[in-house]
């Protein structure tokens, strides 16, 4: 499976993502934001970081960069596009995903391990995933997902909510919501479920000696579903 990771000025999880993808057998390439086109890919990843210093709004400047047109065309043709953290913020700013990531409710930068519940498995990312609750890592200041009531209803009706913050046992409530996101939302899909944006970093959970391996499950699952 071929993948491309887009690098923006200020991206800082691009290399981690590259290491993770290659570890599980993706043929990955790095693509600079100023390039006109993306090499032939089966998966495009927008990595975490602080593209353009988070100027104006997180992800807003990156969402107008030269390469984005190719990303949008790829997404609209059904290609898999994964945005992690800042990548999720960029996807909402492009309009590929609904809503916006606002500043965390308690105005703090959060860096911690969290549990997320997989809410939908009828898609190429989570289909046949062995676990329902994953231990992943978050590190963000703007992860407080927000959208209008109508948009929320549409996300729920179409099963577009991908992952939600929860406890180890899968309980979702206010105490397991780190940043104030509505309905504990940690990640969502577009209507066709080929575009996934999420705040948690699976690429930081690929080594049992460092943190955990639930991220490994995520990447292996994408590969298995591609076969």
């Amino acid at each position: 499976m071929r993948s491309s990771v887009i690098i923006f000025p200020g991206s800082n999880c691009d290399r981690d993502m590259d290491v993770a993808l290659k570890k599980f057998g993706f043929k990955n390439q790095m693509v600079w934001h100023n390039d006109q086109s993306i090499p032939k890919s089966d998966l495009i990843v927008l990595p975490g970081g602080f593209s353009y210093g988070d100027y104006l709004r997180c992800g807003s400047i990156a969402s107008k960069s030269k390469i984005i047109k190719s990303v949008i065309d790829f997404a609209n043709s059904g290609g898999l596009v994964l945005g992690i953290c800042n990548g999720f913020q960029i996807l909402t700013e492009t309009g590929l995903l609904t809503g916006i990531l606002q500043q965390n409710k308690f105005l703090n930068f959060i860096c911690s391990n969290v549990f997320v519940k997989v809410k939908d498995k009828q898609n190429k990312y989570f289909k046949d995933l062995k676990k329902d609750v994953l231990k992943l890592h978050i590190a963000h200041n703007e992860g407080n997902y927000f959208c209008s009531d109508d948009e929320l209803k549409s996300l729920e009706d179409n099963n577009q909510i991908a992952v939600t913050y929860c406890g180890e046992d899968g309980t979702e409530n206010e105490t397991t919501n780190p940043n104030g996101a509505i309905k504990n939302i940690a990640g969502i899909f577009n209507n066709n479920k080929n575009v996934l944006g999420m705040m948690p970093h699976p690429e930081r959970m690929i080594d049992k000696y460092l943190s955990g391996e639930d991220g490994s499950l995520f990447f292996k699952n994408i590969l298995d579903n591609f076969k």
Partner: protein, 77 residues
């Protein structure tokens, strides 16, 4: 010509920074501060002499980049 734009959060959208500023002001004995909403201010120099045209250009800029209409309103002043 210089066009000025103010971008603010929509009514009903939580503004934690505004809230923190309000609480700080209250703590500084500005007890009569009931609410603070924080926003952004832009001065945009447009190469255009016709005010109507310049404002219409800036309006387009607001919609496409300066404001995110999911949570923000803008005002050209």
């Amino acid at each position: 010509m210089k066009i000025k734009v103010i971008v603010t959060l929509k009514n009903g959208v939580l503004d934690p920074q505004g809230k923190a500023i309000q609480q700080t002001l209250n703590g500084m004995n500005f007890g009569n501060v009931e609410d603070v909403r924080q926003g952004k201010y832009f001065e945009i120099e447009v190469k255009e002499k016709d005010e109507k045209k310049a404002k219409s250009l800036v309006d387009d800029m607001c919609k496409k980049l300066l404001a995110n209409l999911v949570i923000e309103d803008y005002k050209i002043v």
